[in-house]
Symmetry: C2
Subunit: 119 residues, 2 copies
DNA sequence: GCGTGATACCTTGTTATGCTAGATAGCATG
DNA sequence: CATGCTATCTAGCATAACAAGGTATCACGC
């Protein structure tokens, strides 16, 4: 595999899970509809996510009971499905933040092992 | 799904990719043999990884040309396969660190969105 | 009315990775 | 020769990101 191709693929794998956390953290901030969230993630987090990926995540979160949605009609286009975080979702988000912090810490430790050993 | 079960499963997903980065960063520090690495990750990074997971990673990294290995016989037990990072692996590790930093930054931004918006 | 484009939602199939559970094998001790 | 510790490797499963495509609404030009 070419180096660029490897990195691209590895990035997809490394994003697993983190996207769910990012979506839930965003919904904890305010309501979003799907299409809006795609643009939000690009502008705010520098993440280019395809809408197919995002809708799959929202569906999973809904099946888990972490988000709910309400329809809102518009006069300038198709209706929008606004998502918001449930109480269960907020509680799950707390747990996910802890797990993520553990992973991030493990990566930091491994990355800085050499420097810290020299101290 | 129970909350604990969800978190456990989500953690597995979120670890994807990060383990490869952690292993390569560890090998950049010094040589390891597989079994040793399992204990190293537990002690140093607080990560409990099964050996099956680790050997699969090492095999993939070897197929990519990121690590090489040498056998070393012992007198107190079975032979050990010592892994070390190749030049290609070092270069890939640099790229992975950049990608990981992007992901970590995106998560941090999403997590802190509320606070920062209030500033 | 009819095509084009923008908005907005959803589905399907592929692929890669971590996890569980097992298999194999050397050495030491009783 | 059975048990336990070390050490490596394999097979099958579940899950999430991604690409590609489909459906439907509204506005605009012709």
């Amino acid at each position: 595999m070419a180096q660029d191709e490897f990195l691209s693929n590895w990035g997809s794998q490394a994003r697993k899970g983190s996207l769910e956390l990012i979506v839930m953290a965003s919904l904890a901030e305010k309501e979003f509809y799907g299409y809006e969230l795609v643009e939000h993630l690009k502008a705010r987090c520098g993440l280019t996510v395809s809408d197919g990926t995002l809708y799959a995540i929202l569906l999973r979160l809904k099946n888990e009971g972490f988000v709910r949605h309400r329809w809102e009609h518009t006069e300038t286009g198709p209706a929008r499905k606004y998502y918001s975080l449930t109480k269960t979702g907020q509680s799950a988000l707390e747990g996910m933040r802890v797990v993520w912090a553990d992973i991030a810490r493990a990566v930091e430790r491994a990355k800085n092992a050499k420097e810290r050993r020299d101290v």
